[in-house]
């Protein structure tokens, strides 16, 4: 993590159909506050869909390997879990009250790494397994409100993800670009997010 990241909740110039908020999701308070801030930008303050797409992993996390610096392993674990799990948990929690009136949905981006172990990726694999269970728990709790919660578990996909995998935080925003690519070109401020 560097100290030059933009201030949380920086508002980028909106396109006709899109608004962008740059938020450091490893910051729990910022993640929790993101939903309310985003809803203010939506037409009519109506929230229909939440996609928890941001995520990342750190390679080289073998058990028993020497630490490169004191506390490095704990820091790596926290970096991965704060982004991949804690942010999903907090955003889901904050989104419920907005999704209830619209009977909206939540989509979490998981990974096949949540179902199969991969050497050197223990924090990432464990985090994605946690995302799967967050998905199921939220689905159980929120079904009564008409909110559906599902996860997508990709294998390897060509995105900025792998170029950034050695240096959290990173973003897998490519999917978001493609969901909206008929109305929105790739937004310059969202190019490989090193915020």
């Amino acid at each position: 993590m560097n100290d030059e990241r933009p201030h949380p909740l920086t508002v980028h110039p909106p396109t006709p159909n899109h608004s962008f908020l740059a938020v450091d999701l490893t910051d729990g308070a910022a993640a929790a506050g993101l939903v309310d801030r985003a809803v203010e930008l939506l037409p009519g303050g109506r929230l229909d869909v939440v996609v928890n797409n941001a995520g990342g992993g750190l390679i080289g996390q073998q058990f028993g390997a020497a630490e490169s610096a004191p506390g490095a392993k704990a820091a790596a674990y926290d970096a991965v879990f704060n982004l991949d799990v804690k942010a999903v948990f907090l955003i889901t929690d904050a989104a419920v009250r907005h999704l209830t009136p619209t009977r909206g949905i939540i989509i979490n981006l998981s990974s096949v790494a949540g179902q199969r172990p991969m050497g050197g990726l223990a924090p990432y694999c464990a985090a994605k397994a946690a995302v799967d269970m967050l998905t199921k728990t939220a689905a159980l709790e929120l079904a009564g409100r008409g909110i559906r919660v599902n996860a997508i578990a990709p294998a390897t996909v060509e995105t900025d993800f792998h170029r950034a995998a050695g240096s959290l935080p990173c973003s897998t925003g490519a999917v978001a670009y493609h969901v909206s690519h008929h109305r929105c070109t790739r937004h310059p401020t969202l190019q490989p997010l090193q915020a």
Partner: protein
């Protein structure tokens, strides 16, 4: 990983994905759009104006308006992996791409 490493990793990964290639963002975003189907009506046509349908080309949106939706799906983990899990192994040689020590991140 560097860009060169990523490219080499993608090339090598074709062999571990039975379909013979790695995924592209569209492979995943298509499922996101499917899941974003509106629950009220049970059809894509139930999506509110300004909802996910606005991102689709008009002919595709019209077709989906008559398609049954994902309104009965919740708590599902949808695997889209080109068959990767069919061949996934914890054999050491498959762990190699991720096992290389890298500089630790700065303390958070």
């Amino acid at each position: 990983m560097t860009e060169a490493f990523a490219k080499a990793y993608y090339a090598a990964s074709c062999a571990t994905h039975p379909i013979g290639r790695v995924g592209r963002p569209h492979d995943i975003s298509a499922m996101a759009l499917f899941l974003a189907d509106e629950s009220k009506s049970g059809t894509w046509g139930g999506l509110p104006r300004g909802g996910a349908l606005q991102f689709l080309p008009p002919h595709f949106a019209r077709r989906l308006a008559h398609t049954r939706c994902a309104g009965f799906m919740t708590g599902s983990i949808v695997v889209i992996d080109g068959g990767r899990l069919l061949t996934a192994s914890t054999a050491p040689q498959l762990a190699a791409p991720f096992a290389a020590p890298t500089p630790a991140p700065a303390a958070t």
